[in-house]
């Protein structure tokens, strides 16, 4: 019986892999079919997969706009890193303090509750007006995108720390400040990291939006350029790269979390 179940499990597992692979291959084949083989889609509407692949390769060597592919990736990377850095440096301390000191919470909450429902992308026109179309406006928008999820999660993490931990620390003679830094903050790290993860995802969206609206470099600009020049293969190249960049960022945060929050099991 056990062996039968095991074999059944293996069979289902294999069937799943076969189905998954054939699904991706089928998708590529269909794409190839409507573009190259049957020519149902003109190249300015949907380029063939190999054209996208060659564009990806070509742009490593030949510039698109003012930069080569690597330059665009680098430009996006700098913006996202600076934006995330600023947002974390502001949001985490503010969240910790708001979660810990009730008066500060009462002062800051009303302002935050008014600003929070505004999508970060809606700040773009104001950001351009304030900071021009350079690095400043993009960093500002990304920072707003990352700021709120990080702040909220930090706040919730600090506010709802297991009271038992705090009482235990008090019994052991810890002072207020010790409890905050040695009990409450470490205990809320998992929630903070979860907030950062949501924030960075949102930040990637803000990056793309900001670069679509006004930029002369970056992956969002590449995507826009493809649309403007009727070269959808360029847009798809940019979309693939931004997807890869987002995945890498997400994986890095997860790995960081596992390292820092070693006590939390999967």
């Amino acid at each position: 019986m056990a062996r039968f179940l095991q074999r059944l499990g293996e069979r289902i597992y294999q069937e799943k892999i076969v189905l998954s692979i054939s699904s991706v291959l089928g998708f590529l084949f269909l794409w190839l079919l409507v573009t190259d083989v049957l020519g149902l889609m003109p190249a300015i509407v949907l380029p063939s997969p190999e054209k996208v692949f060659f564009t990806l390769y070509e742009k490593i060597l030949v510039p698109a706009g003012e930069e080569k592919l690597f330059g665009h990736v680098l430009a996006s990377l700098v913006r996202i890193l600076v934006g995330v850095g600023i947002a974390l440096a502001l949001a985490i301390p503010l969240g910790v303090l708001m979660g810990w000191y009730e008066d500060l919470d009462a002062l800051a909450s009303p302002i935050i509750e008014v600003l929070r429902p505004i999508p970060p992308i809606a700040w773009i026109p104001l950001a351009i007006l304030w900071f021009g179309i350079g690095l400043g406006s993009k960093v500002f928008i990304i920072a707003i995108g990352v700021f709120f999820p990080t702040l909220i999660n930090t706040y919730i993490g600090v506010k709802f720390v297991d009271p038992l931990l705090i009482r235990a620390a008090q019994t052991l003679g810890a002072g207020d400040r010790n409890i905050l830094w040695e009990v409450v903050v470490p205990a809320s790290v998992p929630l903070i990291v979860a907030g950062v993860r949501i924030g960075v995802g949102l930040g990637m969206m803000c990056l793309v939006a900001a670069e679509l609206v006004a930029a002369s470099s970056g992956l969002g600009y590449l995507i826009m350029l493809g649309g403007d020049d009727l070269k959808p293969e360029l847009s798809i190249t940019g979309m693939i790269l931004i997807g890869v960049l987002g995945l890498i960022a997400d994986r890095m945060i997860l790995r960081f979390e596992r390292k820092v929050v070693y006590w939390k099991k999967e």
Partner: protein, 266 residues
């Protein structure tokens, strides 16, 4: 959150009023009294009220404020509801039938890391700058969370519930899905709907900033060109208020549909 109700004016309320009044006071002082900040940069608060009354009555770049709002609402709701209509059933089927999951999931994982906003240029190429291209990207942005949450919700169905139903004589798969799995997944599904709604608003703004001839995003973009930050701020406020109202509506619906779920977080 706080529970110290001593008299009609708690410390918390007083602090909230102080903070709100403080922000507006500083804003007023900097822009209207000392005139440190020029009005093309940040208008004094009273300008926002007068501009609100102005564009409420007479058209601004084509429509009144209400007209722009209706255009935006139509697009958001169109994209959002079509995403629910397709995303939730697809997610449920993926969660329930292993084969459908094996086929759809790899494609989904391939496309998911690309921020929906990044589709805007391609969408413009495919559907033109009319309403369809915007509905398409908004559909995409709300579709992804709807699928993921419906799928996860079904997957998280307590096996004990399924066994109990089987023990009580439910034999047909369809009944099991309809009577057990879907109701138990409902809170998670509605969570996805809420995320999708937020994503839909973000995408709307980006799409309207990039290419449109009406709507709140368009109004804000035009106001930026005309150096009228008060109209930009008005647009941000309307978007924020509408988004918050719709999220509130979803909460109410959630409480109606799943009365067994405990009130969490805020």
């Amino acid at each position: 959150m706080g529970a110290n109700k001593r008299g009609p004016l708690s410390r918390k309320t007083i602090l909230a009023v102080v903070s709100g009044a403080g922000v507006i006071g500083v804003w007023f002082a900097l822009t209207a009294v000392f005139r440190v900040i020029p009005p093309a940069f940040l208008p004094p608060p009273q300008n926002i009220v007068t501009d609100f009354l102005r564009i409420l009555g007479s058209p601004y770049v084509g429509h009144t404020l209400i007209g722009h709002t209706l255009v935006s609402l139509q697009i958001v709701l169109g994209g959002f509801f079509s995403a629910l209509l397709i995303g939730i059933p697809l997610g449920i089927l993926m969660g329930w039938f292993k084969r459908i999951e094996a086929i759809v999931d790899p494609l989904f994982q391939l496309l998911r890391p690309i921020p929906p906003l990044a589709w805007i240029p391609l969408s413009l190429l495919w559907f033109g700058i009319g309403i369809q291209s915007k509905i398409f990207v908004i559909w995409l942005s709300a579709f992804v969370p709807c699928v993921i949450n419906s799928y996860t919700g079904i997957r998280l169905t307590e096996p004990l519930l399924v066994k109990a139903a089987l023990g009580l004589g439910v034999t047909r798969q369809r009944d099991l899905l309809r009577e057990v799995a879907i109701p138990s997944a409902l809170p998670v599904i509605l969570g996805g709907v809420r995320i999708g709604l937020g994503a839909a608003w973000m995408t709307l703004v980006a799409a309207e900033l990039l290419a449109s001839d009406a709507g709140l995003g368009y109004m804000m973009q035009m106001a930026r060109r005309a150096l009228e930050p008060s109209v930009i701020i008005l647009g941000m406020l309307v978007i924020g208020i509408l988004g918050a109202l719709m999220a509130r509506g979803l909460r109410v619906l959630e409480k109606r549909l799943c009365p067994w779920v405990k009130e969490e977080e805020h």
